[in-house]
Every structure is written in C-alpha cells, then in structure tokens.
C-alpha cells in the first residue's frame, strides 16, 4: 500500500522531472541531431511517468490520476532523487547526468522486468526497450565528449565532479525500498550499485575522465521529499496552468 505508492512515485517523479529538464532544451540545443535525440529521450521519460504515476494512483486508491499526481503535488510531496532536478547548466552537465541516470535506470528496469507484480514487470518491459537506447546514446556521448577537445573534456570532468555527490542517493535504501524488495516487487536498491559502478568506471576510463574522489552520498533527501531549492521553481512553471485553472480540461 503506502510503501508501493511511495516507491512508484520515486520512479515516476524521477522520470517526470528529468523528462521536464530535458524538455527545457527544446529549440536551444547545440546541434539539430542532438536536439531531436534529447526530445526523444524526454518524450520517452514522460511516457514512463504516465505509466508509473497512473499505477501509483491506482495503488493509493484515492482516485488520483497521473496528471493529478504530476500537477497537483507541491515539492515536499515529490520523491525524485535530487540528481534529476538540478538545473541543466550546459550540455556537459545534461549529458553526464543523463549517463549517470541511464546507467541506474537501465539496471533498475532490467531487474523490474522480473518483478512479482505483473503490472510493474509490464511497464518495465516497455520502458526498458527505450532505456536500452538511452544508455547506449548517453554512454557514447560521454565517451566522445570526454575524449574530444580539451574544452569538452574539461566541461565533462567538471560536470562529473558536480554530479558525483548526488549519485549515491540512487542506491540508498530505506524502509520503503526494503518493503518493496521483501515483497519481490523490486530489487534491493543497493543491489544495483555494483553493475552501475562497473559500467560507469569502464565508460569514464574510455572517456579519459577521472573518477571523483568525493563522497557519493553527500547530497540526498529527494526520495523522502527534501529537495534542492531548484525543484520549487521547476514546479511553479510546470504546474502553472493546472493551478491557475483548477478543474479545467485541456
């Protein structure tokens, strides 16, 4: 019940907020091909959001739809990891974040395909097809930009350093995760760490980037509703119409 709702919100909010951040690049990207690819990933993630949040609403049994959950909760009720709500900054940060997230997302969905919950397994299977492409693309970009010019390398390294303290939250487990793992609905959150580490380490090496020495779990809280100062601004914009015209249909 409550744990499942929380856990599904964590998934759905992560894809919603990251999808939203990517959509901010629309019309402002560095190259047409990239713009299109970014929009594609954004679209996929918002599609996943619809599925996860709809299921969350069903599990909650209070009649809340995916849109209701997306557009009518304030920041404290959002459950995404902090990583995805950070501002885009530049394409280096956007790309590096995407890779770090995709690597987790791919492992998570790969595990969820075997969920004891048929609904979860079904959504995961659909999403996994798309995310297999996401991780391939972002990994490739990290390598190309890391091993590109001096400037692109420096930007990618800076992005990596900035993001590193936010990566630990992806694997941090609490009572919610434990309940989900115990029920066989999802994997233990920290079980994804080893394959993630392997992929990240290998990719950074090929990208000629240096793995940061800093703590990975210095910045946490999003999964329990303690966010950065950025989320409130994102939501003010995203939710404006629903908040301003309650009950209208669009």
């Amino acid at each position: 019940g409550a744990a499942a709702f929380e856990w599904l919100c964590r998934l759905g909010d992560a894809t919603l907020i990251l999808g939203h951040r990517l959509s901010e690049w629309c019309g402002k990207g560095p190259a047409l091909e990239e713009d299109i690819a970014l929009a594609n990933v954004s679209l996929d993630l918002i599609g996943h959001t619809e599925m996860w949040l709809a299921l969350a609403g069903e599990v909650e049994e209070k009649g809340r739809s995916a849109d209701h959950l997306a557009y009518l909760r304030d920041a404290m009720k959002f459950r995404n990891p902090l990583l995805v709500e950070l501002p885009n900054r530049d394409m280096a940060l956007t790309t590096m974040r995407q890779f770090l997230f995709d690597a987790w997302h791919f492992e998570m969905l790969s595990a969820l395909v075997d969920s004891r919950s048929p609904r979860v397994a079904e959504i995961a299977a659909k999403a996994l097809k798309e995310v297999s492409y996401h991780i391939e693309r972002s990994q490739d970009l990290v390598i190309r930009l890391g091993d590109g010019t001096e400037e692109s390398r420096a930007r990618m390294q800076d992005a990596l350093e900035r993001l590193w303290p936010y990566t630990g939250e992806l694997f941090a487990a609490d009572a919610v995760d434990a309940a989900i793992a115990a029920a066989g609905i999802g994997p233990a959150a920290d079980s994804l760490k080893a394959p993630w580490e392997a992929l990240v380490t290998e990719t950074l090496a090929e990208a000629t980037l240096t793995r940061p020495e800093t703590k990975q779990d210095a910045q946490t809280g999003g999964k329990t509703g303690r966010h950065t100062e950025h989320l409130g601004f994102l939501l003010a914009e995203m939710q404006f119409l629903q908040r301003t015209y309650p009950g209208a249909e669009w």
């Binding site: 919603l16 939203h20 959509s23 901010e24 629309c26 019309g27 402002k28 990207g29 560095p30 190259a31 047409l32 091909e33 990239e34 713009d35 299109i36 929009a39 594609n40 954004s42 679209l43 918002i46 599609g47 959001t49 619809e50 949040l53 995916a66 849109d67 997306a70 557009y71 530049d90 394409m91 280096a92 390598i143 190309r144 930009l145 091993d147 590109g148 010019t149 400037e151 692109s152 390398r153 930007r155 914009e237 995203m238 404006f240 119409l241 629903q242 015209y245 009950g247 209208a248 249909e249 669009w250």
Partner: protein, 316 residues
C-alpha cells in the same frame, strides 16, 4: 533562352524531376537555395514559440504531443537543410546567414505565444497556412525538395489536427479558456494571412518561379483557399474571426475578407516585430553555446579515424 535552358524548361513542363547532379540554370539553383533555406530556417526558429509552452503544458499527454511536434519541426529542418545541401550549400553556411540576418525565416514566428490557446492557434492556423503552401510543393520540380515536402506534409496535417483539437478543448471549456481561444484567434488571424506573402499578381519573380515549378500557386490563390477552409472551422468552434467584413460571396464562390495590414508585415520583416530580436538571439545563443559541443564531437571523430587508420597500417 539558350538551348540548354529550353531543354531544361521542357523537362519541367513534362513533369520530370530535376536531380542535384543534373544541369540547371544558376537562377533556378539560387532561387531554390533561398526558398529551401528559408523554409528550413522557419522550421528551426518555429520551434521557439511552441517551445515556449513545453515546460508549462497542462497535462502529461499535452506535453508529449507538443514535444513531439517541436521535435518534428527540428526533423523537418534536417530534411530541408539536407535538400539544400544537395545544391552545394552547407547547413552551417545557411545557419550563419540566418544568424547574420542575410536570410529570413517566416515572419509569423516573430509573434509571441501568450497563452496555452496559442498552441492551438499555431497548430490550426499557422500549420494550416503552411500546409496550403506545402501541399502543392510536393509536386515541385526539384527532386530532393519534392521528396522532403512529401514527408513533411504527412506530419504537418497531423499537427494541424492536433492544434484544432486544442482549440476545440479551449473553445468548449471554461469561460477563461474560451476567452483565451478567442484572443488567440484575434492575434493570429491576420499574421496567418500574411504568411502567404503580399499579392504577387504583378511580380515577375513569381512568374519565373511558377514556370520553374518552384512556386505552384499565387499567393492570393492560396490565401483565398486558406480563408475558405478556415472560416467554417472557426464557426464550428464558435469563435469569431476578427474581420467584420468577412462574408460568403455567392457569385465568386469564395469568402470575401479584409487584407492584412501590409505595413505591419513589412515592419516585422524589417526586424521590428514583437519577437524578432529574441528569436535570433535565442538561436545565436544556442549556436554559440553549442560550439564546444560540436567541436568536441568533431575532434573525437577525427581521433577515431586516425586511430583506425593507424591500426590498419599496423595490421598491414
């Protein structure tokens, strides 16, 4: 006309497609580059007014539809730049010309999008007008352009239907939504009519383009067609076209309507529209901020090629 020109015109008259490597008059090439380039730029700049509402789309579904639409526009830009490239001009060169103001884009994108209803109006009216222009261009004489237009038209008519669907929701929604819908129509009506360009009955330029099948109809024909299709759609929505003179002319079999304010048209064309400066600055910023990114990818490609070559040499 030289014999070559005569032969060229004969092929066109016979409905043959001209392909990039075949002989063509310099004027034909130049006119095509200008027209395809402008069209490509319009797709790219045209992302901005709609992109303006992506982060504020009111539902997950609407957000996806809008995002997909803007993505399609970027795709259309790609097709068109590729078509222009077959004429020997690179995408980067065309982009520089856009940013320096040497090349134009459709003036309609210099108008702001102020409410969600504008996402409806842009799809319904702006894409609607674009389709009027584009459908005949599927039969244009230049092969790559014609093929690009065929792909584009398929998607555009889908966009127009989506825009109309938004207008429908708004026009039949709450009083505020209805007010937004009417306001959007008020703001976009005349700028949409301007999209077909000033009356071209006296233009020699146009006559040549029509002979070459680069232009398939006169501006006035297309504008009339647009009005004839759009007025009943507005009525169906219960909205009022902001032109008191509109009425059905039984004799002509067409709607009579007021000309847009062509002074405004030329002002916007000169750069004094509401958003000209912002649109170009947005694209300039994207271009400048993206330089390191494009350079990084290029450097990697060169390194990889060198590595492959070295590996091959070593293997031999």
């Amino acid at each position: 006309m030289t014999p070559e020109e005569r032969a060229f015109q004969a092929r066109i008259d016979a409905g043959e497609k001209i392909e990039p490597k075949e002989w063509m008059p310099e004027g034909y090439r130049k006119t095509l580059i200008r027209q395809i380039g402008q069209h490509a730029h319009s797709e790219i700049v045209g992302q901005l007014p709609e992109g303006n509402w992506i982060t504020r789309a009111p539902t997950l579904q609407r957000k996806q539809i809008l995002l997909a639409k803007v993505q399609d526009e970027a795709g259309h830009g790609l097709y068109l730049y590729s078509a222009a490239e077959t004429l020997g001009v690179s995408r980067d060169a065309l982009t520089e010309k856009l940013l320096s103001g040497q090349m134009k884009y459709s003036s309609i994108f210099n108008y702001p999008t102020l409410t969600w209803a504008d996402m409806g109006a842009v799809g319904w009216l702006v894409d609607g007008a674009a389709i009027m222009n584009q459908v005949p261009l599927q039969r244009t004489s230049f092969g790559p352009y014609s093929r690009a237009m065929i792909r584009i038209c398929k998607e555009e008519s889908f966009h127009q239907r989506q825009g109309y669907a938004i207008m429908m929701k708004m026009a039949r929604g709450t009083p505020e939504q209805r007010e937004m819908a009417q306001d959007a129509l008020n703001r976009f009506w005349f700028p949409s009519l301007m999209m077909f360009g000033p009356s071209d009955k006296d233009s020699v330029h146009s006559a040549q383009s029509m002979a070459w099948k680069i232009k398939m109809n006169t501006n006035d024909e297309l504008r009339q067609k647009f009005v004839d299709e759009t007025v009943p759609q507005a009525e169906y929505l219960g909205l009022t076209v902001p032109d008191e003179t509109i009425r059905w002319n039984e004799e002509r079999g067409h709607y009579d309507f007021a000309e847009p304010d062509w002074d405004e048209f030329f002002e916007v064309l000169k750069g004094n529209g509401p958003c000209n400066r912002e649109r170009i600055e947005a694209r300039q910023k994207a271009w400048d901020y993206g330089a390191w990114f494009r350079d990084g990818l290029t450097a990697y490609a060169e390194k990889s090629a060198a590595r492959r070559a070295a590996a091959q040499t070593a293997a031999e």
